[in-house]
Each structure stands twice: as structure tokens, then as C-alpha cells.
Subunit: 187 residues, 2 copies
DNA sequence: ACCTGAACACCGTTCAAGT
DNA sequence: ACCTGAACACCGTTCAAGT
């Protein structure tokens, strides 16, 4: 009985969650599946495409938010959900960051943000700026948090006293203030 | 005649600029210096510390901006200089992102942003939120731009029509609107 | 102060061939 | 449809020993 593409993907996510991104090698993944490394290349053309599929899986459960909410609350909700999704998996932010940078990820969650801003009355340009600022904040700050956590676990850094949840909330509130101001002034 | 720590650092930056981060291996760096890989470990305890030193070098030329400028113009200036510094070297943003995430980088440029915001009358908390939002935008968006450029160079992606300079300017303007609003309302 | 030699324990990827 | 076998061209790091 052979493995399906989905078996590979699921096992990869398990390794990621248990041991982190640095320990997710094609060779180790193959071993976990009871198969030779070369077998993986029947399911995915290369490691990058596997990582992209994993990133899409991690962000896949983030919803668009309710259209009945106020537009700014909706952005807040999507951003918070996105952050929670990244935090749910070890090194989730780094994974998504790599996928985003490579441009291969289908980042529907970014579109949710743009849509919410546009429904709030922002121009296309302002809506896009909001999306960009929010996405970079979520991914970048969460990546810092998870990398820090990983280093503390190894003992390569002493525990810091930073409160990432508050830093995130403050940064998001600042951006939303900017977005509301843009809406008020027309453009 | 032996190599100094500075020779190693300078050669590493040359390789980075000419071939990108993926091609910067300890073995290749050693070859370029005419030395065995193990020799590098006399100068740096490991690769990560070399990368951190490189990141500090890349951001080292970014100044604090003039204290005589308006606070928001000053933030704009520092952020723009930072972006320019990252763009000056191949994969500069990814390098700095890794250093920042690891927490080993001495990121004085972040302090310039916080200081400027505080001088503008923002609370410590708002000043910090401004710094966070700006830093994540600069690093994240520039990383996207450079990764995309690298992939187009290899032929792994067709040229996109995105205008990163405009995206950056718009995102920064939005954040600064938020910061100015915070100042006006007191907190 | 700076480097060699030799080793250890790994990587991603290709491709003909097998079932 | 899915996998093996074997190979290619690499990695970072350690450590005793050399000059």
C-alpha cells in the first residue's frame, strides 16, 4: 500500500509541529513514512512546493470573517485568527513567510483583509496598504516570537520579558487608526 | 599571512552580494579565502554569528536622522534609509530578518524609530508600536521584493507587475497616519 | 594567532529500473 | 500508481595537531 500526497503532507506537518522546521528534511520525512527519500519526488516536485502546500494548509482554516461586522472589527478578527493559526504550529510563521516570499502561496487571507477594508469605504490603494501593513506585522512579529521560543527551548537565549500579544495588539491598533483616518479624509 | 576576522566578514559580504544568501556556505567562503572550512571557526563560533555580524554591517550605515526634522518626517527618513540599506545587498532583507528573529542582532535602527516617535510626543507604548509596525513593514516587504527578484533571475517565476516602492510608501504613510492620530488624541 | 587533516553526521535531487 | 537503488554534489561542525 502506497502513500498518497495527503499522507506525505500530513506527516510533514506532524514533524514540523513536533520538532520544528529545522528538523524537517526530505530524508527524515521519508524515514517517518517508511520510504526512501526519492519516493517523495513522486508526490512533490521539490521541497519548496511541499513547504508551500504546508503553508497553505496552516492558513487554510482562517475564515473571511462575518460581513455583518464593522469593517475595522473584521480586519481585527481576520488578523487575530491569522496570528492564532501561525501560533498553532511550531515555526508556523517562518513557514508562511518563506511561502509568501517565494510568491507560490495562494494567500487568500490577504484578500480577506483587502475586501474588508474596501467594504469599509477605503480606496483600492488604501485597502491594499492596510493589507500589506497588517500581513507584515502578523507574520514578522509572530516569527520573532516563535524563533525566540525555539531558541529558549534549546538554551541559546535566556527568556525575554517581551509580551508579544500586547505588541501585536498595539501595532494592529495603530495601523487600524491609520486606516480609519484614511477613510475619514476620503484619500 | 593569516586572515583577520574582518577579512572573513568582508569576503562573506562579497559572496552574498554576488551570488545571494543560498550560495553563502562556510565551505565556499573558506575556498574564497584560500583556507579550509575549519579555519573559519577560529574567527566565528558558528555560521549564525557570522550572519548576525553581516546583518549588523548592512544596517550599520543607517543614521538616526536629524533631530531638527519634524518627528514624522524623521521616521519616514530612517525607514526609507533602512529600506535602501537592505536593497543595497542581495538578500539583505532575508539576512536581517534572520538576525532579528534570532534576537542576536543589535538593532539600533529600531531605537532611532522609537526615539523619533517619543520626541514627537507619543507615549512609550505608542512609540514602540510605531517602531514595530515600521520595522516589520520594511523588512517583510523588502524581503518579498528581493526573493521575487531572485526567483525571476533563476527563471522560477515570471516578472510581476508589482511596484514595491509604492507599496512601501503607502504602507508607511498609513502607519504614520496612525501614529499622528495617536499623538493628537493623547493615547 | 591562525590554520590543516580527517572525520562525523548530515543535506536535496535525479533517474533508470522495479512492482 | 508508487517505490527502490545508487549515485551526485553538496552541507555545518568538531578537534587534535601543526606552525
Amino acid at each position: 500500500m502506497g502513500n498518497s500526497r495527503d499522507d506525505v503532507l500530513r506527516t510533514a506537518l506532524e514533524i514540523l509541529h513536533r520538532y520544528g522546521l529545522a528538523d524537517l528534511s526530505m530524508r527524515r520525512l521519508a524515514a517517518e513514512l517508511g520510504v526512501r527519500p526519492s519516493a517523495l519526488y513522486w508526490h512533490f516536485p521539490n521541497k519548496q512546493s511541499l513547504l508551500t502546500a504546508m503553508a497553505d494548509e496552516v492558513l487554510g482554516r482562517v475564515g473571511p470573517g462575518s460581513a455583518r461586522m464593522r469593517w475595522d472589527h473584521r480586519i481585527e478578527r481576520v488578523a487575530t485568527d491569522m496570528r492564532a493559526a501561525l501560533l498553532r504550529v511550531t515555526d508556523g510563521a517562518e513557514l508562511v513567510s518563506a511561502g509568501q516570499a517565494s510568491g507560490l502561496s495562494t494567500t487568500t487571507v490577504g484578500d480577506y483583509l483587502t475586501d474588508a477594508a474596501r467594504h469599509g469605504g477605503l480606496s483600492d490603494r488604501d485597502a491594499n496598504a492596510t493589507r500589506t501593513a497588517v500581513c507584515q506585522l502578523v507574520i514578522g512579529l509572530t516569527m520573532e516570537q516563535q524563533t525566540r521560543a525555539q531558541m529558549e527551548r534549546i538554551g541559546a537565549a535566556e527568556p525575554s520579558d517581551r509580551d508579544f500579544d500586547t505588541e501585536f495588539a498595539d501595532g494592529l491598533a495603530l495601523i487600524l487608526d491609520g486606516a480609519r483616518h484614511r477613510r475619514a479624509t476620503g484619500h
